[in-house]
């Protein structure tokens, strides 16, 4: 990156003064731009975003005060220095009140101008630094959970990655016994990673306003995307994912990231708790005020006594045929998301036959007040 010279804009209706100022300022290793009246000056401030503007208070048409006020409102980090025509303190004070950093009374010597420009430049770098810090702080605040999650996940990811290297034989031959042990270690590390992921999803939802980033989301496309993501997981067990054709509008207002997550959780459950070579059918139905999406599987089902509890945090069903490796957070997250969209989620299930989770999402998003 090349360091740009500071840009100083000089707004004065008297050409000799403009030129003299420009000459002095250029001698201080700055670039200059010149404007002969207020209107032109303001236009140039907007276009060029100068570091410093020197503004004569007495200008034809739009006077210096107006330029000062308008430009400092737009660019609070610009340093404005005013030239006061007559040695009246009143004008200077008024200008400072309206956002000028300093003033210089006419007539002035080159040295006087240099001193004031020098101070203006210092001020400018301070303002810019403050702005950068402020922006960084905001970014950190907004993404706090993303950062924490990154810090927590990175070491586990690295461990799993090394196991993967050993298991693929990329680090050389290993015995069958070692292979078994590393496989077990990797499974545990992976489930730790999943747990951290779930936890973070949940805390993200507590912290982040669910009502943010609301836009129109075409659910059909979103489901297609999730099916695409999950195809390889389903393929391993020979499970087929079917997205049924639908008619009518599939668009609802909502937070796309959360809706992604909602259907990911439901569809991945329908795959995980399925039977080999089973299927998952996803269908979409449009109603007057919203859209129904159902995720239906041919899996192991949920015994009726457990049904009321599955949306609780950490609740897992002890299935006779399948040991759950999850954390028990997926459905509680799903429910949170549906609730925040003022929708409904229902489940129907028959042990040994399969389950159907049905979500209703209203077309318009109502912000909770």
């Amino acid at each position: 990156m090349s360091e740009r010279k500071p840009l100083v804009l000089i707004i004065d209706d008297e050409e000799p003064i403009r030129n003299a100022c420009s000459f002095i300022v250029k001698g201080m290793n700055c670039d200059t731009a010149l404007a002969g009246d207020g209107e032109q000056g303001l236009k140039m401030i907007k276009e060029m975003k100068p570091d410093i503007s020197i503004i004569d208070l007495k200008l034809p048409q739009m006077d210096g005060f107006e330029v000062l006020e308008k430009s400092t409102a737009l660019f609070p980090n610009m340093v404005a220095i005013v030239i006061t025509g007559y040695a009246t303190v009143d004008h200077a004070v008024e200008a400072m009140k309206r956002g000028a950093f300093d003033f210089i009374p006419k007539p002035f010597t080159p040295e006087e101008l240099r001193v004031i420009i020098k101070r203006g430049l210092d001020r400018r770098s301070l303002l810019l630094e403050r702005e950068t810090l402020r922006r960084e702080k905001k970014l950190l605040e907004e993404n706090f959970i993303t950062i924490v999650s990154h810090q927590l996940k990175s070491p586990i990811a690295a461990i799993v990655q090394y196991f993967e290297v050993i298991l693929t034989g990329a680090a050389g031959e290993i015995s069958k016994e070692t292979l078994d042990i590393i496989t077990k270690a990797k499974i545990r590390a992976e489930s730790l990673l999943n747990m951290v992921n779930d936890w973070l999803d949940l805390s993200r939802m507590n912290h982040q306003q669910m009502g943010e980033d609301i836009k129109s989301v075409p659910l059909g496309k979103l489901l297609e995307k999730q099916v695409g993501f999950l195809e390889s997981l389903a393929g391993k067990e020979g499970i087929s994912l079917i997205l049924e054709p639908y008619t009518g509008s599939d668009v609802v207002q909502g937070n796309e990231t959360f809706l992604d997550q909602l259907f990911y959780n439901l569809i991945s459950n329908a795959i995980t708790y399925n039977k080999p070579h089973g299927s998952v059918t996803i269908s979409l139905k449009t109603e007057k005020d919203g859209v129904f999406v159902s995720v239906s599987d041919t899996g192991i089902g949920i015994p009726s006594e457990h049904l009321p509890l599955i949306f609780e945090q950490f609740y897992r069903v002890r299935h006779k045929t399948k040991k759950s490796k999850g954390t028990g957070l997926g459905l509680s997250i799903a429910k949170k998301i549906v609730d925040s969209h003022h929708g409904r989620i229902d489940v129907e299930s028959k042990e040994g036959k399969g389950s159907t989770f049905t979500v209703f999402l209203p077309k318009t998003f109502h912000k909770t007040t």
Partner: protein, 134 residues
């Protein structure tokens, strides 16, 4: 003998670099690494990789996004605008969750593909082969 294809791994985690390098080398790729976006840019010019594996979060939050955009669109990287880039990230791919990206997220040119970190060796190799044939 046919030249091996070259892959540039840009990631600030040395352990991840090492692990992925082993996997790629075992599949007969030549591998070069970089630990930050700046080094990554230098290596692109000096090594002219056939494909780039790029971490999203390095020193600062969105390094990967902006580096990707730069490589794909800038004049400086004209010669490499078409070099395939695969994001490798611990941000969950499945849910499609993305960062909050201050405003100018729109209009950013993204990668050719994503994979999750930790990467599965077979998934990694299959994804790479989508873009370069050995």
């Amino acid at each position: 003998m046919k030249e091996n294809k070259k892959i540039l791994v840009i990631d600030d985690d040395p352990d991840f670099q090492e692990a992925v390098t082993s996997i790629l080398k075992s599949a007969d790729y030549e591998v070069v690494t970089a630990s930050n976006p700046e080094e990554g840019k230098e290596k692109i010019f000096s090594e002219k990789p056939n494909l780039i594996l790029l971490d999203i979060m390095m020193d600062s939050l969105f390094d990967g996004f902006s580096l990707c955009h730069t490589i794909k669109t800038s004049k400086e990287f004209k010669e490499f605008n078409d070099t395939p880039i695969i994001f490798v990230s611990a941000v969950k791919e499945q849910t499609g969750s993305r960062f909050q990206f201050d405003g100018d997220e729109e209009g950013m040119v993204g990668p050719d593909d994503y994979i999750d970190k930790p990467v599965k060796a077979d998934k990694l190799l299959v994804t790479i082969e989508k873009f370069i044939n050995k």
